[in-house]
Subunit: 311 residues, 2 copies
């Protein structure tokens, strides 16, 4: 299938998953559902759920309802991290993707709570996977042995989600980033931050997709490496766009790294070497992708798209 | 066994669980482990993990290692809610339990991230329950059928944890509380806030204890009701202590509700009726406790202790 057509279908499935799993706006606490939904529906590339979906497909996964709770949960976790990152105590950003940030619209207290709500709801959502298995078992569509196998797969996926999002993953990267604001960073520190802050959730996405399709440990470990390279390339491309793009194209302010005195790949290595790094990392991701027993033109195209993206 | 002796043993087991499951302070992101541990180790009654432990015991649970991940996770979730609640954007408290609050010691950005870290790590920790089951299965100490049964119990406990901590539980209560700051509240609104903000985690604790011991649905639903009454009584007692206690005894500032223009049971109903409400709620909790097929002198004593507590 044509890459663009497939991409649109995937995006549709992501929106379907979000619609199915985002909370209804009701009850006395309605405003928190509104704030959570406002944040998630602010747009974005939906990159992480697409990686779950496509890696699941790559390893032969067929029942897409099984990955939908994880797709929704992953986007919720990504979104909560942005909501908290934008808070006055953190980056203090008023705009993201051309829209006012959550705390600007709903106030700072609800900004904090909306992030908490999305993080918590992500686990609530991912845990709903078990209800799908229980339902299949109750209807006799699978036997106990198969239900147990699927339940264990789901639990492994949940563990991957939790650990890659936490202090040894995304939050850990945020922390080192925050702690070193206004300090010059070495390349090693920058690599550490990018690997945790950006790669970790992409690693989790591809690993969850593979895991839920029943891939073996070697394959899960291969996609983790692929994702690590993709995440690094993605983040360095971000650094490049911050100095080469315009506010209109990017949907957020440019030259923000310079303004915030941030060490980036560009400040550390210059534009040329940064571009080369993006290229090297994506070539390496594709190389590992080719060692897998299965072909994936889509993921290869996706990697190339991310490398050449303008926003 | 004597109540005080048992209580001390339980508290020891809670500390053991926390020690086993709190993150090691290492790595480039070490400060976040320090902040998380600082927050959890600030003391506190450890009420929620004790309710897990004692309800587990009540329903015949014997392998306490099985509830330890949940005990630690519950205290992490309770603690994260306090860390975020103390933030300048929320209640802006500099002291808690006689110690400086997390954001005062580590800065506001790390305050936000420490709360996030604890919430995320709570799920990481609770999910480790599955490793215990897998280990027993691998060692041949249980068969596949039993392993699946235990795994499902654990998943149900995880679902209870997630839902009671989230927007339909604790966070929901926080939201309605925050949204109504400086507004007069009706008794119905106050009950809603107390039920979600305070009772929800106590409900979760007792339900998880019962669930992990293999209690039936009726019993789980009974302990949910018991816990709801306990939580309400506990929160109203908090309101009472805020106007009747001293800073020394309470370990935090008194008359804070008046200072913050908060509607409480005391402002709404007066001291006498508030005291009566605490009594009625605890009597009701004990009444339901007595309908259970098993006796629990300890939980009954615990309820009475909470009602008569001075801090």
């Amino acid at each position: 299938m044509d890459f663009q057509v497939q991409m649109e279908k995937d995006l549709e499935m992501v929106e379907q998953a979000l619609k199915a799993y985002l909370p209804k706006e009701e009850g006395q606490q309605k405003v928190i559902m509104e704030a959570a939904n406002y944040s998630v529906n602010a747009g974005g590339k939906r990159l992480r759920p697409i990686f779950i979906l496509e890696t699941y497909r790559l390893f032969g996964g067929e029942d897409f309802s099984y990955v939908m709770p994880f797709m929704a949960a992953m986007e919720m976790i990504h979104t909560y991290s942005l909501v908290h990152d934008d808070l006055p105590a953190m980056d203090d950003d008023d705009y993201r993707r051309g829209r006012k940030t959550t705390h600007v619209v709903f106030g700072e207290a609800i900004g904090v709570l909306a992030g908490d709500a999305l993080l918590n709801y992500a686990f609530e959502t991912a845990l709903k996977f078990h209800d799908l298995v229980d339902e299949k078992l109750a209807k006799g569509r699978i036997d106990e042995k198969e239900a147990y196998r699927q339940t264990r797969m789901g639990n492994r996926a949940l563990q991957i989600l939790a650990s890659k999002a936490g202090i040894y993953g995304m939050i850990g990267g945020q922390v080192v980033d925050v702690e070193n604001t206004d300090k010059p960073l070495s390349k090693e520190q920058l690599d550490f931050i990018y690997r945790l802050k950006t790669s970790a959730l992409i690693e989790a996405s591809m690993m969850i997709g593979a895991c839920m399709a029943g891939a073996d440990n070697d394959s899960i470990s291969s996609v983790e490496k692929i994702a690590r390279n993709i995440g690094m390339a993605f983040q360095i491309q971000d650094d490049i766009l911050d100095v080469t793009s315009t506010e209109e194209v990017l949907g957020k302010s440019v030259l923000s790294d310079e303004k915030n005195h941030k060490t980036t790949y560009v400040t550390l290595k210059g534009l040329e070497q940064s571009r080369q790094a993006v290229k090297d990392l994506s070539v390496e991701a594709v190389r590992i992708l080719h060692t897998l027993p299965i072909e994936s033109a889509f993921i290869e195209n996706l990697i190339n798209m991310l490398v050449h993206r303008m926003n």
